[in-house]
Assembly symmetry: C3
Homo-oligomer: 306 residues x 3
């Protein structure tokens, strides 16, 4: 269970004990996040964002600064430099000379894995293609752990775009390590891919469903995601399904008292603003937990805790 | 007069004693700006710039680093993410988890006020819509204070675009707290709005004027601003007025010996380059004073001085 | 040989003893790069990049952080603000109030020199127009020094675009200070300009050549550069010459055992990927040496070592 120097590429690289150890370290980070630390003084984190993601970038940077380190990096506003034939491996082999850890986000599946093969310093995958977003899955798990004091005996619905959403892929896999029941709630066109469903079905109870309202009373966790208009070849189809994957304060009348609503953010309108003020909302708290998880990962990988 | 945890949204939130207290703290910042400090060690400032403003952003960042803190943030090169339906409140409620103070710039009137209502951490308005730019007004006041050793018994002309320029709105209000005489010098189309003029006229002597050259000999402070071509529906009208709101070395022959020329920058050509070398020019010195004022604000708001 | 407060505008400002002194300081930087330092604590470096160059920017920023300093700055993704009539001198006279050293990159010849005339704080030229890139030349020299333990009695080929490539101009001049033999290998259209060739021919042996393969066995250093399609008015001409200025593993069969391949990066395809794994490749190592050279420069200029 030694994280020092380790790459964080896929949630599948984490065993259940790995996750439990990480959660225990994360518990220590709240005090440091508020009080500051010099644990990673002199260390440099480089963000290589080949597609934009302001929130994820700021989260990693804040985590690094809270631990006393520094940050460099870039964020492409489009895929310009990739089109220009910019070579990912070359970029990695240059920037590894300037930093102690690389955080990479890339539109192509497998990019972070490729980067880790070329890099002499640890790589953290901050989202690659539509497959993986492991630190998001870890922060989702940590949110659940903090709110329910357990990761077992919980019923979770993943709602929205389960086909292209990298967040839900990583999370579904992570949840399958624990004794959970999973509902997959999505329009036909955005159903989770067969191979992903197959893999988790072997381990936990999974049900595909397209009526969110029907199962609401059963749920401990309602995990909402965006449905992007662009995914629909036919706009009328989009308009038809849109309403079914939207959550309002009214809908929450029938949920368990302790049920929570989560979302990787940013949201468009799939969670109505009137949900924000209910005691079920946890999507902003999630970003706080995310900071703590990333602090824990960075301190472990860079040996700040050893 | 406790600034700790306070939002800086509008210059109107400042009483005269508030401003005097801030100026006295600012006087202490020059030594720190040159020598460095660890006053805000471990603190993080986040810049949320929904429209670009390189200079203002760099000024805040430099102030934070001079005090020993760190910075994260973003600057939109256009209004892209706003068009995408990006929700300001959501952004604030995410980023407040990553930082100790938020500096926000936004093209819409009222945006900073709105942000401050959602945020649990202090907000500093770095320019919102065409209404407010309170830290610019404070640094303008501080410049005047340093150069004249007083804020009373002074005659100031605000010159140029008084309709859309947020800088002049905040400054006019700030000046009205002191015993000053104000000339408002602008083309008809860019006159200061009635309601703003009304408010300051209740407190100090204000005169609207469209001939800058005529009043030059009377002035202690000539505060120039840009006139943007885009404001004129008819380009010929722009060309007609343009020259009247331009200052050259020649024009300065008739001013008081101690008169100073100020400008919020960047300039286009409303101040000729030959003015730079005169002893009247203060627009670059202003940016130095701006650094000091922002250092004072940050150290007070974040409790570095308490 | 006092570097404190000095501008780094042109490689021509460096005497041979200057370069030797800088190399000796650079030797001390490897330990600091790995262990960290507080040498420049409280100092701020500002990057003014009027054209994009991610790698150079990251290199300077990493150097500054490794020495304990901080960074602010901007990078234009295009030449937008220059087109808008943004005035370089004004920018410099503003930002010098926020920082202790300015690193500037600009598409126009002479821009860094101009900036240095206006600035009260030291300027480092990180590439201006097609003329100069002095820190690249210094890191190239340092790479050669480290790999050959000397800067004399070496045969170097500069290959590719010798007309518009600022890197090769600065490097050719730097090499002319030492007892070296230089081959200039380029297509007719991209030959080094007469005046540059003339200047170095006075000092060392220079030969212009257009067949790289022929001279390979003689070379100690093969310095490759990009040939940009856009330079050729006629695309068919580009396609004709392209292959002749490309290096593959095969080509390296005939080189000296200790010969090294260098490149300022980024590459397009002028060095085949199969060269990366040979013991001749030094282009990634170069970026590491570059970090060390920039650390040495910053610590000298800002007086961290005095």
């Amino acid at each position: 269970m030694n994280f020092e120097g380790r790459d964080i590429v896929s949630i599948k690289d984490f065993s259940k004990p790995d996750i439990e150890y990480l959660m225990s370290i994360t518990d220590m980070m709240e005090a440091i996040a508020r009080g500051g630390s010099e644990m990673l003084k002199g260390k440099i984190l480089a963000t290589l964002f080949f597609e934009p993601s302001t929130r994820t970038k700021l989260s990693f940077e804040s985590a690094m600064y809270r631990l006393g380190g520094n940050c460099i990096g870039f964020a492409e506003s489009s895929t310009t430099s990739i089109e220009k034939g910019e070579n990912l491996a070359d970029t990695v082999k240059v920037v590894e000379n300037y930093a102690d850890v690389l955080v990479i986000r890339h539109p192509q599946d497998g990019a972070a894995r490729l980067a880790s093969e070329f890099s002499n310093i640890p790589i953290i995958n901050a989202g690659s293609g539509s497959e993986e977003h492991p630190t998001q899955a870890l922060l989702d798990l940590y949110t659940i752990k903090k709110e329910f004091k357990k990761l077992d005996k919980l019923t979770i619905a993943l709602v929205g775009d389960l086909r292209y959403g990298r967040t839900v892929h990583s999370l579904a896999y992570a949840l399958s390590l624990f004794d959970t029941k999973l509902y997959l709630v999505s329009p036909e066109l955005l159903k989770m891919r067969e191979e992903v469903v197959g893999e988790i079905k072997d381990k936990i109870e999974v049900e595909e469903e397209n009526d969110l309202k029907k199962i609401l009373p059963e749920l401990d966790i309602i995990y909402m995601t965006r449905i992007q208009k662009e995914r629909f070849p036919d706009l009328s189809e989009y308009k038809m399904v849109k309403g079914s994957y939207r959550l309002t304060q009214d809908d929450l009348k029938n949920v368990k008292r302790k049920a929570i609503v989560m979302h990787p953010l940013p949201r468009i309108d799939e969670i109505a603003f009137d949900v924000d003020s209910t005691h079920h909302a946890r999507y902003f708290k999630q970003t706080w937990y995310g900071l703590l998880v990333r602090m824990a990962l960075l301190s472990l990988i860079l040996g700040g805790l050893e």
